[in-house]
Symmetry: C2
């Protein structure tokens, strides 16, 4: 696939360079490590720090969510690869305001290892208290009995939003982790892949699908889904995704949810709204209310085609976190 890049080995550094130039009022690079980015905004003393991170290629995830109301810092990995412990540790040191730091990341082996090591180093070497919450929202990635094996996909956005708000509310470390974990355990996603992306260094497609084929449950890095089949209508796809979600988590009539229709990179907004239209109908039929909705590219996979549906069941506390204003370079909510 054609890419507007220079040397493929420099794409992440050049992206960061461009991002810093464009958003220097929001974010700055630590001199200790060029993959360590922290907020340039004033943050309150004693606020719990929120640290996010993961591989590149998911923009706006993850650097796009550093700013007021969400994360205080991000550790940036190579494309689709976890950041190493060093940049995570540097961000931790920079954003700790005496109340500790919460790590939020998706449940992938590399991330679990590197964020785990960084947390240990922060504790032992720097005496910084670190809490963690993993995103495991992808219903397709493992059966319900093995929830701990599930991957994190677009639901990470809700977890950042909830935890970022909780930290702003002045919650302590334990309570920020509690809110993040509640956000995760109340959140389910199901995706559909239509077309692959390609990595800049190889130029090879991340997976193969035939003309007019789709894959239900496809992962954000091309991990195999649960079912390949002929491309269906948007309504059929939405029916399937919502059905799988509602079979996995009980949401009662009268309850309210937040909905995210997330584009994977090359799916037009038009199609995302057509999917939203059907998701709203389905939830309404079940008597489930939509408290807030988000439609757009929130966590992408370069130019992958397809989308995911994410539903988060809300209680009063999570509603409050969804209402909290955010001001980040790639996401603003008044």
């Amino acid at each position: 696939m054609k890419k507007l890049i220079n040397n493929p080995t420099n794409v992440v550094e050049e992206m960061i360079e461009g991002y810093m130039k464009a958003h220097s009022d929001y974010i700055r690079q630590l001199p200790e490590n060029n993959r360590s980015l922290v907020t340039a905004r004033q943050t309150r003393d004693n606020k719990v720090g929120i640290l996010i991170g993961g591989g590149s290629g998911h923009e706006p995830g993850f650097m796009g969510y550093v700013g007021d109301g969400m994360a205080d810092g991000v550790a940036v990995g190579n494309i689709f690869a976890s950041p190493s412990p060093d940049p995570i540790l540097e961000v931790t040191k920079a954003i700790d305001k005496g109340a500790g730091v919460v790590y939020l990341y998706g449940n992938y082996a590399g991330d679990v290892m590197n964020f785990g090591m960084a947390a240990e180093m922060a504790d032992l070497e720097e005496d910084i208290q670190v809490g963690s919450a993993l995103a495991t929202d992808d219903v397709a990635s493992a059966p319900k009995e093995e929830m701990e094996k599930r991957r994190g996909i677009a639901g990470e956005f809700f977890i950042y939003k909830a935890a970022g708000a909780a930290a702003d509310f002045g919650y302590n470390l334990e309570n920020v982790v509690r809110v993040a974990e509640k956000a995760n355990s109340n959140t389910r996603s199901m995706g559909v892949g239509l077309s692959p992306c390609s990595l800049p260094q190889t130029g090879k497609p991340s997976f193969e699908l035939r003309e007019n084929e789709m894959e239900i449950g496809l992962g954000h890095h091309g991990e195999p889904g649960i079912e390949k089949g002929p491309l269906e209508t948007a309504d059929h796809v939405a029916d399937r995704l919502v059905k799988d979600i509602l079979q996995d988590i009980q949401i009662n009539k009268g309850e309210q949810v937040a909905v995210l229709i997330n584009g994977l990179g090359s799916t037009p907004r038009m199609e995302l709204y057509i999917v939203y239209r059907r998701v709203e109908q389905l939830l309404k039929e079940q008597g489930i209310g939509i408290y807030r909705s988000y439609v757009g590219d929130y966590i992408t996979s370069l130019e992958m085609g397809g989308c995911s549906v994410t539903i988060m069941k809300l209680d009063a506390e999570l509603k409050k976190t969804m209402d909290h204003p955010v001001n980040c370079p790639m996401f603003v909510q008044k």
Copy 2:
């Protein structure tokens, strides 16, 4: 190309339906015409109304920019086709607060005809004063001596933003038009196309490019550009686009600009920031300051690949319009 849609003839209606469900706090559909959408927010009496519009498939353009600080209403056309005069007239009637309405649209034959007819009808039948400002920012679409033949592309975003702010400042119709025209005459865009989109009804690609070929100056609907050639690096492309812009409009050392790197639909944010990085270097070399920068998908062409660079020369008044906060479903600026 694969699309997540239902019946291809219903894509615009179903998109609108989804959009209304997702953003009912921002926008409402007029009962008189389902292609007439107006703000659901409180607007001041005697504020000049801002009406935008054009074909669908350019989302966030155009419905995404109805809200606080930008447009008060939008007339929605079929994919890549102008709205007809009726929905434009209905929006005009709905958003006129006694101070008249300004139409902002791109310089395309269909739009010029239909917005022109609607303006005449508004004047003669409804006694509503209408002003107009056309976007002609696309440098590649006609030589400088035939500026009036140039098409509007991503620069439309700056014109909406400038005029929307001017209307909020309480400017009268004449002055809102003046600001919109100044924004346009200070704005230049140059784009590059890498891969086509396809219309839902035909499934056919909007243009053809060979493997590893790019087209400089390609239009938003697949209109031919000015040069096809082998795909160059992001830096080479940025050099070319900025050179063409700076040859077309004089921007002196010490002056300040707003920059927009606009993705056409399937170009990852990563690549847009790599382009921005180079554009910033080039402007810096010329002693031109960047007052504000926007990087992302602002006016797309379904899933087209490529991007455009837009530069608007700023004076004090235009700076003030760029600073003005905006709260729309697809664009928020604090």
